[in-house]
């Protein structure tokens, strides 16, 4: 039986990890994800999990140890944030290139400088080309569920790709919410045993991991790797469905909130979703045809589902919790515009919000929806707009 608990997002992640009880965890403290390795240490000290916990001296070594441990044939996890993820950058590509099914919850945080420890997506956007699956969560419940789902997704034979379940720093990680925790045994049963085909510890069948590929091989390997990543879209749908049948909650690669019949569609990811949904409710109550499309699976980008979901839209506003570093729009908006290319001529504009922990409120979103309504009626509107930024 599941039980209802009131705990923070970090605690939700920690409990998911405890229940998964991976063979090895290698992690290094960094705000705001530090409570996760702290909890792991306490769970182990209390005999509540039996994972081998490698207390490395940096995030670079955390992910490096994860790659070594994963090649040695077992289930491996880590967790990090911001500069920690940035320090991992090099090895994230190696982990996915070596097809290691590592699961690494990331509590998303602004990147320095200036130094800022609060939530935004600079870190996870920065590594979106690293070949990892990126799954954005909107609350603690989803963070907990997604971490459990991620294990099954990463280890899927057709995927074998590392997965990053993502939650906004502080907004989710440090906010206490009510959510349902499943039984330890039920979680274990859901994820099942992991069997690695090859292992460093199989001395009878020595395998070489991490050979380098010259120009006549690198390209083929990258294409082969991409296939695993692309397979994650359908594989996630299947895992999510199974999870729903078992535990009564499922999410889809996108979530449609009154978006099917909406003229104005706001698109976003993560913790801001609750705020946007409230704004949509209020606008709908005022007779404005607004809806929200939440992207959960960001990499691989489920563009087919998104195109289908946006068929009736007359104006679209995309929320990006990251500034564009000189591109026309920020990452999610660019992907949406690219998906919609040739499909329609409606305005698709970008809203930068929430950088470094800046508040975004229902009234901010309502203003956005009003703007988009005018845009749908033909009014010119800036391509990039900044929510709650002092002029």
């Amino acid at each position: 039986m599941s039980k209802r608990v009131a705990l923070s997002g970090n605690e939700a992640a920690a409990h998911a990890i405890r229940q998964i009880n991976p063979d090895v965890i290698a992690a290094f403290p960094i705000t705001p994800s530090t409570p996760i390795p702290m909890a792991v240490s306490q769970f182990i000290a209390d005999g509540k999990m039996t994972t081998e916990f490698v207390t490395v001296e940096s995030e670079h070594s955390a992910i490096s140890a994860c790659v070594g441990a994963s090649a040695a044939g077992g289930r491996v996890m880590t967790a990090t944030s911001a500069n920690g993820l940035a320090l991992m950058f090099e090895i994230l590509y190696i982990a996915s290139g070596m097809r290691r099914p590592i699961v690494a919850p990331v509590v998303a945080r602004a990147l320095s400088g200036p130094l800022n420890i609060h939530g935004d997506f600079s870190d996870v956007y920065g590594v979106r080309e690293s070949g990892w699956v990126e799954l954005f969560c909107q609350d603690s419940q989803e963070f907990y569920d997604t971490i459990i789902q991620s294990v099954k997704l990463a280890e899927n034979e057709s995927v074998l790709t590392p997965v990053m379940p993502i939650a906004d720093g502080f907004d989710i990680s440090h906010t206490v919410e009510n959510w349902y925790m499943e039984d330890d045994e039920a979680v274990q049963k859901f994820i099942g045993e992991y069997h690695s085909k090859y292992s460093l510890l199989d001395t009878e069948h020595p395998v070489t991991f991490g050979a380098w590929a010259p120009p006549d091989w690198y390209y083929e390997h990258r294409r082969s790797q991409l296939e695993g990543l692309l397979n994650a879209c359908d594989a996630f749908k299947a895992v999510d469905k199974e999870f729903g049948e078992k535990f009564g909650r499922s999410y889809g690669v996108i979530e449609k909130y009154h978006s099917d019949d909406a003229d104005i569609v706001v698109i976003g990811m993560g913790a801001v979703s609750g705020t946007i949904k409230d704004a949509v409710d209020e606008m709908r109550a005022n007779g404005i045809s607004a809806g929200f499309l939440r992207v959960k699976l960001f990499r691989p980008f489920p563009y087919k589902d998104i195109i289908e979901a946006l068929k009736g839209a007359k104006a679209i506003g995309v929320f990006d919790r990251c500034i564009t570093a000189g591109a026309q729009t920020a990452a999610l908006c660019t992907d949406i515009r690219s998906a919609m290319y040739g499909k329609s001529n409606i305005p698709i504009v970008n809203y930068t919000y929430g950088l470094g922990g800046r508040d975004t409120t229902v009234s901010h979103v309502k203003t956005v929806i009003e703007q988009l309504k005018e845009a749908a009626e033909g009014k010119k509107i800036d391509l990039i707009n900044y929510i709650n930024l002092r002029a």
């Binding site: 063979d23 090895v24 290698a26 039996t50 994972t51 081998e52 490698v54 207390t55 490395v56 001296e57 940096s58 670079h60 070594s61 955390a62 490096s64 140890a65 994860c66 790659v67 070594g68 441990a69 994963s70 090649a71 040695a72 044939g73 077992g74 491996v76 090099e90 090895i91 190696i94 292992s199 460093l200 510890l201 199989d202 001395t203 020595p206 395998v207 070489t208 991991f209 991490g210 050979a211 380098w212 590929a213 010259p214 091989w217 390997h221």
Partner: protein, 316 residues
Amino acid sequence: MAKKLSFLNKLALNKELLEGGHRLCPGCGHSIIVRMVLNTAMQEGYQPVMANSTGCLEVCTGLYPYSSWNIPWIHNAFENVAATLSGAESMYKSLSRRGKLNNDKIVFIAFGSDGGTYDIGLQALSGAAERGHRFLYVCDDNEAYQNTGNQRSSATPYGTRTTTSAVGTADPIGKKQKRKDIMEIMAAHEIYTAQASPSYWMDLIKKVKKGLKQNGPAYLNVIQPCTTGWGYDPKDTINLAKLAVDTCIWPLYEIENRRSKVNYKPKNKLPVEEYLKKQKRYAHLFTPKGKEALEKIQQLTDEHWNFLLEREQAGF
């Protein structure tokens, strides 16, 4: 007519764990050292699992679709061989503890060069040593970044010409700094720390055995002459490794439980020139302008050698 087997005959009975057909330069010191280390591990009945940092040894032995390794082997990146292997060793502990693996013959061996050890990999190595993972770390020290074309590292000795400590009309010396004393750094982790040379192979083998027996980390610093970077005839790899020891530029010693031992004291300590003059990277020292630097190398060598002798005598 079975012939009697000598020590080396017995060693040669083992299956070669490093296959030929790798792409290392003719006469490369890397594979000589690797073969000595792995054959010893085999001889002792171990089953080595190896991690390799990025570098000559790695690129020449793990080039898709080829591999020269008859043992489980992993390459991750340049600076993280110790972290990578610490992950594998932790998995070994975990799976053994959980009853999913039963093999007490496995030993973990890391190979890094001086760049991946003294410089960019030092943090990961120090971390892994402090955490106490059971592994033998072998540094094949060729005294510069050879894989990228002989750039200076912190292992490059004073007065060495490399491609980033160049010698020219305005600079007759080359590298101005002494080499980093990695032995003392690793010994400060209170782990078994030893320096060896492939020319004194009995000593090297003894140290490998000792390192593998540790119930924790062990560090082995091995001089690895590099034909291309150092500029000498490939046939002289082992000869140079011997001259380095006989001139006391590369003393054979070990540090254990805070006590040091000099394993070999040449009866006839040769002047450093004997070693230096055979290598193109020191050719500039044998011109009038290089005289001072040459004297300084002798002086640095003597200072270090005397320090080792005095410390040993003092019982530390």
